[in-house]
């Protein structure tokens, strides 16, 4: 049925449904926890806050505090992180023509985390400004790492899967070791060992709205700008030379796309630390259902990634309640076997 619709109507229908799914996931995730709040009350409270409506309070004052101070920042951050990682996965996979390129696997996340750690060590006392440095440092860390891996992995104008995995692994290992060293040496970080641990394991790590106020424009803006490059990513699937024959300014677009992927990864890492495999699993699943056209794939993967991580984080904090596990552990438990499956399946194609 979908195939018979005009392509614009199909796009609107698909993206509209995914936005609906994301909102439902956000409501459900915000409702669950040590104290349950009904989704209807969540909608009313939120509208009262942002849309100047005046629904009478059918909830307790503490519910409002829990919702706005704890639950909502966390679920919104989850959605942003998931969207950013899935979109970054789409960008890296499209550009490198490699369905296994995930920001975590190719070392971009580790670069971002290293940058973020450096920023967290700095003696800046203003919480807002102090956090403001974290995403910027994470972006530059991610960018340096991705450029390093890209240049290491490149063989004769191509980025073979095996050299990309090796370069990504080596760069990640080095950066994570350097980061662990910094953490060991820094008194400032030692004081926050719990949050550092959750950062390394990939836990949504949000204490207030100001973090989201900084990261949300970075991630949403990054995805919107990336959408402008989506049709060129389609051309890139013919290789850099093939893309050039189709009128793409390869060197310029390549740098822009790597930069956007780093921006998204840096933003995600600032909120959640090292969450892996979202950028691998989500784009792959979306591609299977909707096809490889990046103009639909990119926004669809971002919305699905957001919904995916909100649900994964809900599971991570309720499964073993009152204990919370970092969501990165959960995504790795799902994603790593899937990665191995993909690797074995594509082995013949890539010959190694």
């Amino acid at each position: 049925m979908l195939a018979r619709l005009k392509s614009n109507q199909r796009t609107v229908l698909i993206l509209g449904s995914l936005i609906g799914i994301l909102i439902v996931c956000l409501l459900v995730a915000a409702a669950f926890g040590a104290v349950s709040i009904s989704p209807l009350d969540i909608v009313k409270m939120t509208l009262n806050k942002v849309a100047f409506t005046h629904f009478p309070a059918t909830w307790q004052a503490t519910d409002e505090t829990i919702l706005f101070q704890i639950r909502l920042p966390r679920v919104v951050a989850g959605a942003l992180v998931g969207a950013a990682l899935a979109a970054a996965g789409v960008l890296f996979q499209g550009l490198l023509r490699n369905p296994l390129a995930d920001p975590y696997i190719i070392g971009t996340s580790a670069g971002g985390a290293f940058g973020a750690t450096l920023a967290m060590m700095l003696p800046v006392s203003f919480a807002f400004l102090g956090f403001g440095l974290v995403p910027i440092a994470a972006f530059f860390g991610a960018l340096v790492a991705v450029l390093l891996v890209y240049n290491l992995a490149r063989v004769g104008g191509k980025t073979p899967i095996i050299s990309m995995l090796l370069a990504g692994f080596a760069v990640s290992a080095m950066l994570i070791a350097a980061m662990s060293f910094l953490i060991t040496m820094s008194d400032r970080l030692q004081l926050r060992l719990h949050s550092i641990w959750s950062f390394l394991m990939g836990g949504i790590w949000v204490s207030d709205w100001s973090q989201i106020a900084i990261i949300a424009p970075m991630i949403i803006g990054g995805i919107v700008v990336a959408r402008f490059f989506a049709f060129r990513l389609n051309a890139f699937s013919l290789g850099e030379e093939g893309a050039a024959y189709l009128g793409v300014d390869v060197e310029r677009d390549k740098l822009t796309i790597l930069g956007l992927g780093s921006l998204l990864t840096g933003g995600a890492v600032s909120l959640s630390g090292l969450v892996g495999f979202v950028g691998l699993v989500v784009p792959h699943a979306v591609r299977l259902v909707l096809g490889p056209d990046h103009r639909l794939l990119l926004p669809a993967a971002a919305l699905s990634g957001g919904a995916f991580l909100v649900v994964a984080d809900l599971l991570a904090r309720t499964m073993l309640a009152p204990m919370e596990i970092p969501v990165g552990i959960l995504t790795a438990l799902i994603g790593a076997p899937f990665f191995i499956y993909l690797l074995r399946r594509t082995r013949r194609e890539y010959a190694f």
Binding site: N98, P99, F229, F231, S237, L246, G247, V250, R287, P292
Partner: protein, 261 residues
């Protein structure tokens, strides 16, 4: 008016010189083959024509304007390239691949319009692959894929079609099919065709003008019967061959006799 002209064009890959001081003019509607041993500069010349590589020295003009002054997008709206083969990492359908040919005409946020679909439809019909449109590109045979790439290039509505050994990995039936199609495009659509060719006999049969390259220089340039002689082939390929007449066509035909039988 001259379609494509090269004046004093040289090209080096970093330090390795590939082409030396080439002067060449190709008119609108010609069908030209570039011949020569591996490393003689055929593929480099194709890439220079496409604007993907820039000459180290000299100028290339397309319809009077220098290729240096044109944006990649502007070149791609006039010049299309069919390379040897593409590896496609994602599950695009054949029609989606042909649609990629419209890339140089798309704007950042807009989708294809009626005219784009029409160009795709036309080129798939011309190439005779309409019924394969919904098949996955990667699951097609080598010949079908190459026809798909030809259709993609045609969807660019090019004035100049460049072929880089387009039949290199194909069985003989598909070689003939592809070259028949290209010849048809040249004769019926008036598209200028320049192809780097490996097979001298195929080149002699399908192309009106052959340019024989030796070590980055033009060694011979003219109609097949002038260019493909026992002497030139000996000189350029260091191979001893006999040049016969094709039994039914006015074209030279190269015959090899093994030294050992």
């Amino acid at each position: 008016m001259i379609k494509l002209s090269l004046s004093h064009v040289s090209f080096s890959y970093i330090d390795v010189p590939v082409l030396h001081d080439i002067d060449l003019a190709i008119e609108r509607g010609e069908m030209v083959a570039l011949l020569g041993p591996n490393g003689s500069g055929k593929t480099t010349l194709i890439k220079l024509f496409s604007g993907v590589l820039r000459p180290t020295e000299g100028e290339i003009h397309l319809d009077g304007s220098s290729l240096r002054g044109l944006k990649r997008r502007e070149v791609a709206q006039r010049v299309a390239v069919v390379p040897q083969q593409f590896h496609m990492p994602f599950a695009f359908t054949l029609r989606e691949v042909v649609l990629l040919g419209r890339t140089p005409f798309l704007k950042a946020f807009s989708n294809e319009e009626e005219g784009d679909y029409k160009a795709v439809q036309n080129s798939m019909e011309l190439i005779g692959i309409r019924e394969l449109g919904q098949r996955f590109f990667n699951e097609l045979s080598g010949g079908e894929r190459q026809k798909g790439i030809l259709a993609m290039a045609l969807a660019q509505e090019p004035k100049l079609l460049l072929l880089d050994e387009p039949t290199a990995h194909l069985d003989i039936n598909h070689q003939v099919e592809i070259l028949d199609l290209v010849k048809g495009l040249n004769r019926e659509q008036g598209i200028t065709v320049i192809g780097a060719m490996h097979d001298l006999n195929l080149a002699a049969l399908y192309f009106d003008r052959l340019i024989l390259l030796k070590e980055g220089r033009i060694f011979a340039d003219g109609p097949p019967s002038d260019v493909l002689t026992e002497g030139t082939i000996k000189e350029v390929f260091s191979a001893s061959v006999q040049v016969m007449q094709h039994p039914s066509m006015k074209a030279p035909h190269i015959v090899i006799t093994p030294k050992r039988t």
